[in-house]
């Protein structure tokens, strides 16, 4: 494995999940700035450590049902337009094709990889996951594909056309990372 990936994995921000984000960033910056010589003294221009942090309590609005079904029942929900029949996955409460209304339906657990890429470099949030594959997967009873992670299971590449089946995390919090796909057969 590439040396920089190894180093990145060791220093990835796992602590994000256990400590308040603001404190971690403050501590990190304070430690680096206090080191000798201070990194801020090496530039002829004044360089200032900073951060922009926002906190949220956001609403998933009309698509809430997808995430509630996912969390509570471990099923995937799509929507189908009552006027033109377009099947949306990810779901939409209004049809982008004909502006009709949609109703919910249960999406099949099996599907096909439309296309895929395996990432070997990432932001701090995903460093400890590399290599990981993202793919557009089209379920067998949907018109569209949704981005999802594929369990590489020792592979480095997932070919388009590969058949996959959904797997749900045991403890789910109602987010897209509550499920992923495994390669069939």
């Amino acid at each position: 494995m590439d040396e920089s990936i190894k180093r990145a994995k060791e220093t990835s921000r796992k602590e994000f999940r256990s400590e308040p984000l603001e404190k971690i960033i403050d501590d990190l910056i304070a430690k680096q700035v206090a080191s000798s010589p201070s990194p801020l003294m090496t530039s002829p221009y004044l360089e200032v450590p900073d951060k922009m942090v926002m906190t949220y309590k956001y609403s998933l609005g009309g698509i809430s049902r997808f995430f509630v079904d996912l969390r509570d029942k471990g099923v995937l929900s799509g929507t189908i337009c009552t006027s033109c029949g377009f099947r949306f996955f990810p779901p939409r409460v209004s049809c982008s094709e004909c502006y009709g209304d949609t109703e919910w339906y249960e999406v099949n657990p099996d599907g096909v990889v439309i296309t895929s890429s395996t990432s070997w470099y990432a932001t701090s949030e995903f460093f400890d996951k590399v290599p990981y594959a993202v793919a557009y997967v089209k379920p067998s009873n949907a018109d569209t594909g949704m981005l999802q992670r594929i369990d590489l299971a020792g592979r480095t590449v997932v070919e388009p056309g590969t058949r996959v089946r959904v797997v749900f995390r045991e403890k789910r919090n109602g987010s897209v990372s509550d499920f992923w796909y495994v390669i069939e057969g």
Partner: protein
């Protein structure tokens, strides 16, 4: 609509980091240069359009207002455009609309971006925070939590192209070799390099099928152009300016997983094909009266954020048949001395990708080429027409194609 001319250009060198300038100082430098070249002052400008992609890069929400103030444009109209990698091109489009509509006689379009002021204090380098600032442009509910980022967003489309048409990593590597090589003749370029296909193939994997040398880098810099109405051009006595012959824009579905449906853009193909880009090219060619782009254009700047993307761009711009983009570069057609030089500036891979400035930089390059001022990278001008192709947004959804003529 009235005719619109490009009468002045300015650009900074594209560099990884420019700690000696803030974003508004970079903007000032290119504005001054472009105004000088046009023979006017900032008092003569009716309106300004700013292409600035990312508030997180600038550490400022509404950065355009502070550029407007620094440049002394108080009292005039100012608008900011942000459309991802296509920001500069869409800013140019908005500037063109200002003048073509008659709202303004003289408009300045300025693209500017910082990139590496963001900094990951844990890794002690900027790259992971740069990636994060960009990744926040992916859908925050459906896609960001899965770890998608700029490289994999483009790579997903490239993998589909490989699968559908048999495009190879070696063909893409030829684009990287060409554009790094072209950059050697561009004094404003960030990444001039003498490399081989083998170097590209051996560089480390970033997001399959992209290796390090298939990727453009993060860049800081600025570019500007002055646009003027035909009436004003005549008044000023400017002879033989470069004219905007046509602009076409089309944004495909932002979720590429929806692009395999046989919909309004289905005639152009599926997730393997830059469907909206075909549509943007069709609109631009119709406006410019171009029937056979390969014969009628003298050069093109194609948005090579990644090497494979340029191959997809050859096809969408109608320079190669669908699926034949790989052969197009193998045959040498887009080389600097080929039948249709593509990205003589070095493109994004060679010259750099200072996001908001990139699309404006392409216009500056084509203007300089069409007026014979491109120095060592000058291509042969026969018909006096050049094309700029710009991409932005998740899944390369945004596209603007601009055609200039001398």
């Amino acid at each position: 609509m009235g005719r619109v001319a490009v009468v002045g250009t300015g650009q900074t060198k594209f560099e990884a980091r420019v700690p000696e300038k803030t974003y508004y100082e970079l903007a000032f430098d290119v504005a001054k240069e472009a105004l000088n070249e046009a023979g006017i002052t900032h008092r003569d400008v009716d309106s300004a359009v700013y292409g600035i992609y990312n508030d997180l890069f600038e550490r400022q929400v509404m950065p355009d207002t502070f550029v407007h103030d620094y440049l002394g444009f108080y009292g005039k109209s100012g608008t900011r455009v942000t459309t991802g990698g296509a920001t500069g091109a869409y800013a140019f489009r908005a500037g063109y609309a200002e003048v073509a509509s008659g709202l303004s006689d003289t408009t300045i379009v300025i693209g500017v971006e910082k990139a590496q002021d963001v900094f990951d204090w844990a890794q002690y380098k900027s790259t992971p925070e740069v990636l994060k600032s960009i990744a926040y442009s992916s859908d925050m509910t459906w896609e960001y939590p899965l770890g998608v980022q700029a490289a994999s967003s483009y790579a997903l489309l490239a993998t589909a192209h490989m699968r559908k048409y048999g495009t190879t990593e070696e063909q893409a590597a030829l684009v990287s070799v060409k554009n790094h090589g072209n950059a050697k003749n561009n004094p404003y370029a960030q990444s001039p390099m003498d490399i081989t296909v083998e170097d590209v193939m051996k560089s480390r994997m970033i997001s399959y099928p992209f290796k390090m040398l298939d990727c453009s880098l993060y860049t800081e810099g600025a570019s500007a152009v002055i646009l003027m109405s035909e009436k004003k051009v005549r008044e000023m006595g400017i002879s033989d300016p470069v004219w905007v012959a046509g602009i076409g824009s089309s944004n495909d579905r932002s979720f590429p997983g929806f692009r395999s449906v046989n919909d309004f853009l289905g005639n152009y193909g599926d997730i393997a094909d830059l469907r909206g880009h075909y549509e943007a090219a069709r609109i631009a060619y119709r406006a410019a009266g171009i029937q056979n782009p390969l014969k009628e254009l003298d050069l093109a700047e194609i948005h090579d954020a990644f090497s494979f993307t340029e191959i997809q761009g050859y096809e969408a711009m109608g320079l190669a048949h669908p699926g034949k983009g790989g052969k197009f570069i193998e045959d040498g057609i887009p080389q600097i001395h080929g039948d249709l030089p593509v990205s003589p500036s070095g493109g994004l891979i060679g010259a750099g990708h200072a996001v908001g400035a990139t699309g404006v930089m392409q216009i500056v390059e084509i203007t300089k080429q069409l007026t014979g001022e491109a120095g060592k990278r000058q291509v042969e001008i026969r018909n006096g027409k050049g094309l700029a192709h710009s991409i932005g947004g998740p899944g390369s959804s945004y596209c603007t194609v601009t055609i200039l003529e001398a």
